[in-house]
């Protein structure tokens, strides 16, 4: 195990959509290992872009230009192959998106299947079981592993998507408002799950929900208009923010 407490370091990252429309402006930050880091901010502040930049999903948008570096351990992710990077940095999206044509079992090992990695049957079974147990879904689906996942509830589907990400044994898991499409009970389950998962994974979470950030994150970033205004321990941010902009956002004056 690497004892260095930081795993990702973002260095002077700027991302522009069109020539001069900056979505992320010169952001630098280091993200701690085995912790939950929340990114907050009002709509359009660049938090999703920043999150997507960590596994280069933002490059799917047309006319994007990126400056600066993000280092995973000591390797610049913009020099890595996206395939290798996305194996180490997994992503969970706003809406649960299991593959509708695959069974629950196949969904969990979809990463291996889609990348043409052949596993022995015993290995596959083990990965599926462990991943589903990690997201507390095993007991609920163990008798219907080979059925399609469309009978699952939204919360179960989202946990299946997290299991799919875990199955690839990533170092970092990125979550883009993972509970915004879920009801409060399903949300609570996912939050508990994330807190459990941070023992083994580093979690970066974009959230619109400030109380969620306060409940589960260790560190919080506050972004506004593409700039990283404040980045500190969550308790600091919520009890004693240094910037008035952060304070206004947290107290609900705007956002």
């Amino acid at each position: 195990m690497n004892t260095d407490p930081s795993i990702l370091s973002i260095e002077n990252l700027s991302i522009a959509y069109d020539k001069d429309k900056l979505a992320v402006k010169n952001v630098s930050a280091t993200i701690k290992k085995n912790a939950i880091t929340a990114i907050m901010g009002p709509s359009g502040c660049g938090k999703t872009t920043l999150l997507r930049a960590i596994n280069r999903m933002h490059e799917l948008y047309p006319n994007i230009s990126t400056e600066g570096k993000i280092k995973l351990y000591d390797e610049n992710i913009y020099d890595m192959s996206t395939i290798k990077l996305r194996r180490k940095v997994g992503m969970v999206f706003q809406r649960p998106n299991p593959f509708p044509t695959l069974s629950i079992y196949e969904n969990v090992i979809a990463g291996y299947k889609l990348n043409g990695i052949n596993l022995k049957r015993s290995e596959r079974d083990e990965i599926v079981e462990t991943s589903l147990k990690n997201v507390a879904l095993w007991e609920e689906v163990k008798n219907s592993l080979h059925k399609k996942g469309n009978f699952l509830s939204g919360g179960q589907q989202q946990r299946l998507c997290i299991a799919r990400t875990l199955a690839f044994k990533p170092d970092v898991i990125l979550l883009d408002e993972p509970t915004s499409a879920l009801d409060p009970i399903a949300t609570a389950k996912i939050e508990d799950l994330l807190v459990d998962l941070k023992q083994n994974y580093t979690i970066v979470l974009v959230t619109h929900n400030m109380t969620q950030a306060a409940r589960i994150s260790d560190n919080s970033m506050y972004m506004y208009l593409g700039e990283l205004i404040e980045y500190d321990e969550t308790t600091q941010i919520f009890t004693n923010p240094k910037h008035t902009s952060t304070q206004n956002y947290i107290t609900g004056r705007f956002g």
């Binding site: 596994n55 999903m57 799917l60 047309p62 996206t82 395939i83 290798k84 990077l85 996305r86 194996r87 997994g90 992503m91 999206f93 706003q94 809406r95 998106n97 299991p98 593959f99 509708p100 044509t101 979809a110 990463g111 299947k113 889609l114 990348n115 043409g116 469309n150 998507c161 799919r164 990400t165 690839f168």
Partner: protein, 303 residues
Amino acid sequence: MDKTNILLDKKRTEIIPDSFIGRNARNRLFLGVVIFFSVLTISMVFLIIGTMLFKGYHQINWAFFSQTPPNTFEAMMAKSSGNIIPGGIVNGILGSLYLVVIASLIAIPLGLLIGIYLYENSSKKYAGVIRDITDILQGVPSIVIGLIVYLWVVVNVTKGYSVLAGSVALALMMLPLIIRSTEESLKMIPDTLKEAAIALGTPYYKVILRVLIPTSFTGLMTGILLAISRILGETAPLMLTTLGNPAINWNITKPVGAVPLLIWQFYNDPNMVDLIWSSSLFLMGFVLILNLLSKWIGARRRI
């Protein structure tokens, strides 16, 4: 306040009901007109099917599906002694299937690839041009397609009427349908699904092959089946490209029979009139089954 809220303005809200006088009567009138024309359309369809069943059913027997057509003399003899016309249209059935299979082999892969290209590059100028050309191709009269293929294939490649020429003509007619239905059904897949695959590090060609195509499979199949049922009844381009053949033929460079061509031949022979109806009944039934099949597949669409 100089600008009043239109929704709270009492004067205005009191005016509104007056303009709705007679609304129910107008509603009922409109509904009546709509129902009248729907029933008219539906009854047309039933009339067509009914006429064909009524006039064609007595010719439908095993021989109809297993034998080639009689010559005009045999038909005349049978008619004059009060029997049904002997023989059948097996050359046309097999020929039509042969043409459709070869046309599909040409049009389906090409149509899918172009459709995927259009979906992936929907905003590019070049894609717009292809889309326009596709629309134009769809609008080209089938007889013109027949003429062009006559020039290209009949004259220059097979040196005579052939299965290949007919299939190329039919493929040209299928192509725009498949291209557009492919693009449309791919567009229905939520982007999040594509993202899910990409976020797992999947190479892009595999996202297309393993995620997009399986997910939109029902849509793609519906488009293909509709395209096939569209070309099954085509007659004009086949007259100029495969001509017809009274015997069964499997040689791709030789002419072949087809059900719509046979209908045209029967129409021109007063002794064979009865076979027109049974052949039409067969063609119609086949197209109907394909249509129902595509509807059934479409209804099972998952996303």
